[in-house]
Amino acid sequence: MSDYTLLGKDFTPPDVTGKVTGKAKYAEDFKVDGMVYARMYTSPMAHGRVTRIDTSKAETMDGVIGVLTAEDIPEVEAPNAAILTNSPAYIGDPILAVAAETEQIAEDAMAAIEIEIEPLPFVTDPLDSLLEGGANAREEGNVYARSREGSGFREIKWSQEQIDEFRAGKEPTGEFVSEWGYGELEQGFADADLVFEEPFVTIGYAHMSMEPRTAMAYWENGKCYVHGSAQSQSFWIPGLARMLGVEMKDVCLISENTGGGFGSKIGAYPIAALPGYFSRKINRPVQLRVTREQEYYMGSARVGFQGWIKMGFAADGKITASDVFIVEDIGPNATGGDASSAGGAISLVYDPTAMRFRGLPVLTNTTPRGAQRGPGQNQIAAVMAPIMDKAAKQLDIDPVEIRKINSTNNDTIVYADRSPVTSAYMNEALDQGAEMFDWETRKTQPKRNGNKVRGLGIGQGYHSAGATGFDGLIRITPDGRLHVHSGIGNLGTYSYATTSRAAAEVLKVSEDSMQIHRGSTDNHLPWSSYQAGSVTIFAHTRTNYVAAMDALDKMKRIAADTMGGAPEDYDIDGQRVFLIDNPAQGMSYGAIAARAIQLGGEYSGDSYPEDIHEITQRAVQNLAGTGLVGVAKDNLHQEGVIPGLAVAFCEIELDLETGKYDILDYVGIAECGTVMHPKGLAQQMKGGAVWGFGMAKSERHVYDPQNGLPANVGYYQCGIPSYLDVPSVTRTDAVNIADPQNPFGARGIGEPAMGCSVAALQSAISDALDGHIFGRSPITPDMVVNHVMGRDQSYKPLQTNNF
């Protein structure tokens, strides 16, 4: 793969053993002396106002320690999520918490609480809220627009006729709040030889983290220690400190392992601060264990889309214009922003000559929404794949070819601001995938076999996959060992370990001489990126590179200072710094580290660059004098969009009588620059594929619009793919061409790994059904049966959050 010693090679991340043996500790596994157990009482109503709380019976029960209500916590302005609220905006919105000596007593106390809530109108489908006379999810309005110019509530209503036309698949004429575009849209459609419009729905669904957002907290000497289920580590601190009303130095987050976050635990979420407040109030350590059911109520969900798209294609397959309008289901807390990202993905993946995006974010009284793997990009990937197939069919162009005609490459400029890309090799990925899948042969195979019909699908996934400006921090101690301090967090991708190896690669340190420090902010962690947005591989190979280069520079200077000559006279290998002209003359890393401690100053962390983050500064201060310190902010050149790309090919066999389909084969190709960790990449591609299958086949929110009740509050109700719903073998590979803006050529891949999958499966279903476009995800057996039998579907056009 690569010429590197460590990078590009498989390895066993240090935390794997704990996960395999069960010794790995998650938030719920931590107990401290005197700890009590908290449970939440949450709203039984989709929207309401708490008028009376009576906890007197509960508080007099033996073993009950205390009650925490919204009165104990600073108010948060709507629509932002509060830690506890008296204005619940969805079923499951936390209202109060009870702490007791045991979990059972806490639950018994819950049953003794009396709460009166005045019901308010609620809505579970954005179009029902948009319709004139329809309910608003919040008393302040039904739309919340976020923009650089200012954010705020709005009330926007469409006429019955406008709603009807939208449902009928026509261009929406109702008011919207955001718009961007480029090129001459009308001219683009005028230039097109093929123009068609498609309505679409992608239903939101739960993040489904295996580990609920349990947290435990206690205070020592004014510092709050929080054991949380976090996707990121250092990135949590500012939010956690703000919510707890303390300075960043007075918060410690312990998060050694995380049982999934998928975008729902990127930054500190409100409920993670609840135990801290409760602990401060009752002066006992408090563990808040969130139940599986509660995780579904409040654990965040993908944004849903209801949309319309118009596409123009030239006879040669080039997309001349794309016009997309998306009504975005942003839940009760106005979280999401997926729609505009979807527009961005159309721009980057399909490179239309002209395009326009219009968006309307509508509040609903459903589970709070949040970024979920490929937020926006993956919904639109599902929508676009059958559309590309339809155009290919009508223009008589091979489906791979039409994607290549419109694919992004190194010269593509993207988005409204026409940004360049760092590098992009979509064509190479499509070619590699087509060859691995044997597309040319398969496309000529017969499709129909009795009641079974085969379908071939192609999907393309994209997410921007990099970030800059974070800090790297490493140390070499007098025992000669390299210590990499990582504040990324441990979401489960092992990117903390992969990126740490970048420092070892630069310093030519062997695997067994390297130690990674992570898991607790008290382990002196630098300011690191959020572990989300597919950024960490790009961002932290860079931070560890700059920190290692800083250390290398210091080591050479120490060598020159100690042994004579100039720093450039020295090189490194075998964990020694030696004179290039006389390799026998040198110093071990251990000796260099000891000398650094003697010299002090920048060598040992007594001083540090001014541009590093406050969190990194504190880490360096605490480490000062323990060895040679390499610390730097990533100021490396970065310009343009950093694309993570992936393509997938799949073959399905669909049973026309049962509506069921099996995935017979799946090939996923990553285009993420130089591969840093082959096994980790393969797992990302396979895991992403399974997730995409779920989105395409079975995962969705279902709400009863009569009472706002969610139907999916348990694993089996949520439709995650089972082992028999995925192919027995999922094949993956990577293009493996270096990106010029990363010292090791790497870009991220996490999110596109799923987008290509949901798209490929939607494409294959359409192919199996002779080009029929459901314009919905998921596509369930009942929908297929109804279509094949020529029956109406059960749902209204563009209906969402439904069966």
Partner: protein, 329 residues
Amino acid sequence: MASFDVMPEVQLYQPVELGDALNLADELGEDGWLLGGGQDTYGWLKDRAKSPRAMIDLNGIEALHGIRETDDGIEIGAATILRDIIRDKRINRDYSLLAQAANRVASPQIRNVGTLGGNLIQDTRCWYYRRGLDCYRAGGNICYAGGPEAMNREHAVFGASRCVAVSPSDTATALVALEATMVAASISGTRTISADDFFVGPDTHIEQMTSLEPGEILAAVRIPAKWAGQRFYFEKVADRDVWDFALVSIAAAMSMDDDTVADCRLVCGGVACTPHRLTNVERAARGQSLGEESAEALAPLASEGAKPLNYNHFKLPLMENLVRRAMRG
């Protein structure tokens, strides 16, 4: 709204003799809860949607385990786990319909602990009812699932009577097709109930899914030799191939006279509160030969009389298609 997931205080009895279990069941009456594999039990109890005073664990009672030959077929102890049924040679040879149905229950993990009795008497999976709402089945006076905008894709198209829930059991359809008999024991002795009568709809008893009385324990299931080695067809259509309950399933037993159907029983799951006999299809099928022609002729009969709700009319063509597949031969 509290969200419970810790087991509440509940007494646990672990008798090793059936007589002791029957005495306990009699004493406790509706305050008692029979525990088999626990796959239905623990959800109810941890959610506190059901609050029995005591559980009677039946797993230690040897008499409730095992697969035995009888003068007229076989008898299966109600506490026999599904995995053992799936692997049993006699069942696979003579009553493979049951093995096939058992093999489509839930997941391998659940089949390793789930019992035949538990699978048969498990409660409905209506998501409204499972939420602990005060519906008819829970003793209230409303059905949430039957409302004009209710989310009822998985609900009944036959036999609704105030309640529109469906039977979730995969093995029930096979056992009705095989004309099984249920052996119910109590301190008064045992009685046998035909599988047809064992499962009851809301018009008979809206809060129960079987005709077991308080104090009775399902001890065994007897399958008569009548259908041994005959022609069988089982298929379950569910969203996912593991874990999910049937959208629609079919269990068919057919005795053949050369190429023609001498006798048959066809039963659909997932369409009614009980396993749903397709008696009109059965009548019309007798004397017919299997094949595309008869399949086409018989299929439309399957959904006759169905009353679909908002989201489940797909069950009608799906039932028809499953009959088609069963009768193609």
